[in-house]
């Protein structure tokens, strides 16, 4: 699979893919999207790089521990869900606020800040970490068996 065409297209795809996944992450909550879908898309993009360049070659340059990504993502999401308890509310209660953006006296619009955004961010890392952990583990086992 490691032809020049595949490699080039994989690189271009990764960039578009990551941008779109971050967009999906940010618009989630009001429109279709969110942490899960964004995470799946990001994981697909990175998996494409693994396929195009080969698992071993990519690992030489960049080898994060996806399992830990999963752990920190889940911890982040879980802590977000716990945090309303300290404000006297129930588990998973979300808060939101609108911040008007005013530049030089001109009202440009409003930015919506939602606390469930942090939960979505945690889910994003859970999905990226979980999917790529499984992909790399399965890929490594197959490669080592074939090598012997």
């Amino acid at each position: 699979m490691t032809t020049v065409i595949t490699k080039t297209i994989a690189k271009i795809c990764l960039m578009v893919d990551m941008l779109y996944s971050i967009d999906l992450l940010l618009i989630g909550g009001n429109r279709p999207g969110g942490g899960f879908i964004g995470g799946v898309l990001a994981a697909c993009g990175i998996a494409l790089i693994y396929v195009a360049y080969g698992l071993d070659d990519v690992k030489k340059i960049w080898n994060p521990d996806w399992h830990t990504w999963f752990g920190y993502g889940l911890l982040f999401a879980s802590i977000t869900a716990w945090s309303p308890l300290f404000a006297g509310h129930n588990y998973f209660r979300s808060a939101f606020d609108f911040i008007p953006v005013v530049v030089g006296g001109i009202h440009l619009g409003e930015i919506e800040l939602v606390s469930s955004m942090f939960f979505d961010l945690g889910v994003y890392f859970v999905v990226v970490g979980g999917l790529l952990f499984i992909t790399t583990k399965v890929g490594t086992d197959k490669a080592s068996e074939g090598g012997k």
């Binding site: 869900a81 308890l85 588990y91 998973f92 209660r93």
Partner: protein
């Protein structure tokens, strides 16, 4: 204290969910990780005890997750769900202690702790949620984490990794098909009644039934739910995955699978049959009764021919879950016929049966792990004479076998006796006769296994037993559960009393509906 009481049902789901990442992050410090997990699981057991105590004294607890008001997800802790949570926390805690010396340390550090906690969160979530789509979500959490736990490496190399892969494949694929069916059922139900809250659905289905305008597809939706839960509980046409999956899993996971996870199916049937589709229970009762009788016969007959100790226990699980479903079927028929007292008694008896089976069977699976450690094989024909070299395991297997077979003074006797007694009072002579016949089979296969393993002499060609002594972490949980089997048999009254109240609560869903809906619609 009021903070604790206010959020009590949520803690039982949220704490394991928080522990899962905490154990991943602390993977470089195995000692800390182990200590943390064990303290938390004992804490969870205490919290579940507090939950059932509160529910017993103050009635149903409703907890709104996220405070969304009318459309939000609620956690409902009635007596049935809180007692199931106690069961899952108890067996989960024992299984975790047992795992420390049973599972290979690398596997234990990396994924086992986090997956185990996720599984506990999923199981507790299934029992506590009051929202049917949320039930599906927790089903998936439980399914994926338990599927991954089946392949966890053990310290003994008796089970081949390829067998484990095959078993996980079967488990995941078949349960995914089940989840698919459940998703179809949930969405159809939502399309029909426009609600996902179980109490709300129950109310609307009852109004439809009273008005005589029940659409035909409601019958099909109920059947689909019964198929899903029967598949989880391994009832007759969908039982075939269990004897492959439960034996290949590591023993603490087998104990969780046979002790708690197949009871999820029974719990689901109770909710579907008596709460949500309460007006249709006369339609589903005979179907469940028939399938349960076939399951009892099939499991017991198949268990007689098994030579693998864990396969024997797995087939026994199939047979025993049939008895639980037999109670549900008989209870539904009796209640439909207007025998409120008789039907309630039968449902209570099958709940007692379920609790006793859960504890005895998980103890037996943990014991089988000890036996495998000692004999380094799963084939009972290659064992023999172990009563001399390993009397402790001989004792605990005997206790479990007596409980499963229904011999007094063990807990299983109380379960079997009350089930048969309640069935006879409502004049179910033929089903009870068949069940009684296969109860004799049960005695036969359990004691055949015990005699093969512990009496006689081991054939010298299979070598000597290992002199490796079983550690306290392996023996301790087995002994605690064995003591519980005794206690449930000798002092069965509290469980019978709780079961009676559960049966009254579940067969008349009005208090449940009131508790949820009056709180939800603000």
């Amino acid at each position: 204290m009021s903070f604790l009481m206010q959020h009590l049902p949520m803690f039982l789901i949220a704490i394991p969910l928080l522990m899962a990442p905490a154990t991943i992050i602390s993977k470089s410090y195995p000692g800390f990780q182990k200590a943390l997990d064990i303290i938390v699981s004992i804490g969870l057991l205490a919290l579940s005890g507090l939950l059932i105590y509160t529910v017993w004294n103050d009635g149903i607890i409703v907890y709104e997750v996220g405070e969304f008001g009318k459309y939000g997800i609620v956690l409902v802790a009635d007596l049935l769900s809180s007692s199931m949570v106690v069961l899952s926390c108890l067996i989960g805690c024992m299984g975790l202690i047992y795992s420390y010396n049973y599972i290979e340390s690398k596997s234990l550090n990396l994924t086992y702790h986090s997956l185990y906690n996720l599984m506990l969160a999923g199981i507790n979530g299934i029992f506590l949620t009051g929202d049917i789509f949320n039930l599906f979500v927790f089903f998936e959490i439980m399914l994926l984490s338990s599927g991954a736990l089946i392949v966890a490496n053990e310290t003994s190399k008796v089970t081949k990794i390829s067998d484990k892969m095959e078993a996980t494949m079967k488990y995941i694929v078949l349960n995914m098909l089940g989840s698919n069916a459940m998703l179809i059922a949930v969405t159809s139900l939502y399309a029909s009644v426009g609600s996902l809250n179980m109490a709300d659905i129950a109310l609307k289905v009852r109004i439809l039934a009273e008005a005589g305008t029940m659409p035909w597809h409601m019958y099909a939706i109920g059947l689909l739910f019964i198929i899903v839960f029967a598949g989880k509980a391994a009832v007759f046409p969908l039982h075939y995955w269990l004897p492959d999956v439960h034996p290949t899993a590591p023993s603490p996971i087998s104990a969780m699978l046979s002790g708690v996870i197949i009871k999820i199916g029974a719990y689901g049937i109770l909710r579907i049959l008596f709460v949500i589709f309460s007006p249709l229970k006369g339609v589903y009762g005979p179907i469940i009764l028939l399938l349960a009788l076939i399951t009892i016969g099939l499991g017991a007959t198949a268990a007689i021919g098994q030579n693998d100790v864990k396969r024997l226990l797995a087939y026994s699980s199939v047979s025993q879950i049939g008895y639980v479903f037999l109670g549900f079927g008989m209870g539904a028929i009796a209640l439909e016929a207007g025998e409120i007292a008789g039907g309630t008694l039968i449902v209570a008896a099958s709940f007692v049966y379920m609790v006793n089976h859960a504890i005895a069977k998980s103890m037996l699976f943990l014991t089988s792990g000890g036996i495998i450690h000692h004999a380094e094989t799963r084939d009972m024909r290659k064992m023999g004479g172990m009563i001399n070299s390993n009397p402790l395991m001989a004792f605990s297997f005997l206790v479990g076998a007596m409980s499963i077979g229904g011999v007094p003074p063990m807990g299983g006797f109380i379960g079997k006796f009350s089930l048969f007694d309640a069935g006879l009072r409502s004049a179910f002579y033929l089903p009870i006769a068949i069940a009684l016949l296969f109860a004799v089979f049960t005695l036969f296969y359990m004691f055949r296994g015990w005699m093969l393993m512990f009496w006689g002499e081991r054939d010298p060609q299979y070598g000597e037993y290992s002199h490796h002594k079983l550690s306290i972490l392996i023996v301790g949980p087995i002994m605690i559960l064995a003591a519980l089997v005794f206690v449930l048999g000798l002092f069965g009254n509290p469980v019978l009393e709780i079961a009676q109240t559960i049966a009254i609560q579940i067969t008349d869903p009005q208090p449940y509906i009131d508790a949820v809906l009056v709180r939800v619609i603000r």
